[in-house]
């Protein structure tokens, strides 16, 4: 058994000194950096779009809730226009309007908090 151990220790595979190896590694790592930057950019755009959508939804929700509570319409005296129909709908369901608004606010705060956490990780 000693012989085989000596044979293995005396015949280690020989690696040719290849200066292009590190150059090739650097080239591949640069490519990885490029891909990472592109992925980060896409993720940033997606996050921005999500935040804009949530903020717009939250603003509309707050306005709708305010209209429903401040300017309620009477079902008997309301007209047949689109705006009147919307106001009637809001007045009818006004007790439930705060729920989607609250959900939007929670979603927005979660998105903003997760953004802070991922930035601190890198």
């Amino acid at each position: 058994m000693k012989e085989i151990e000596d044979f293995l220790r005396e015949n280690k595979p020989v690696v040719k000194n290849d200066p292009t190896f590190i150059l090739e590694t650097r080239r591949r790592l640069d490519q990885v950096e490029g891909i990472k930057a592109e992925v980060d950019r896409q993720r940033c755009y997606g996050r921005l779009a999500l935040i804009i959508t949530l903020v717009a939804g939250l603003a509309l929700g707050v306005i709708a809730t305010a209209v429903a509570f401040l300017y309620p319409v009477d079902a008997d005296s309301v007209g047949k226009g689109v705006l009147d129909s919307v106001r009637l709908f809001l007045t009818t369901w006004k007790q439930y309007l705060l729920l989607p608004v609250a959900l939007l606010a929670i979603a927005l705060s979660l998105v903003l908090m997760s953004g802070k956490r991922s930035r601190s990780t890198f």
Binding site: I4, F7, F122
Partner: protein, 159 residues
Amino acid sequence: MTQERFISLVRAEQEPLRRFLLALCGGDAALADDIAQDALVRAYVASGSFLGLSKFSTWLFRIAYNCYIDHCRKVRPDQTSLEDAVALPASETSDASFRYQQLYQALERIPEKEKAAIALFYFEDKSIKEISAILNMPQGTVKYQLSMGRNHLKQYIQL
């Protein structure tokens, strides 16, 4: 980890890493370097998860070994042959070439885990504990693999 820091760590480890993969690939230097490059890219992408709890070389060798195993799974057994396994260093004497030929052919005949354990222990002078971490197996199993590997190699190498 910055790219420069990573490259500086790799510069110190590239020769042992390539030698380890060369032994695993049966002397095919081009294939060994290709797997090494693949492993380095994977390591760089995952460098954020390297917490310094083990040595950088141990972590890198483990990734390289996993890359090699992935490569073996992709390649069908009928695509390889023992003749492919032999790549003789041109600058070596014929006697040394014969020894390398014997060594690579013998390594190609033994199971992957035994081959990896033999390469790490005898060519890279890694401790049993490090080999255990690299190959993800208990230390007792590493010793068993080394013992089995030596017994198998003895059958194929004429001393």
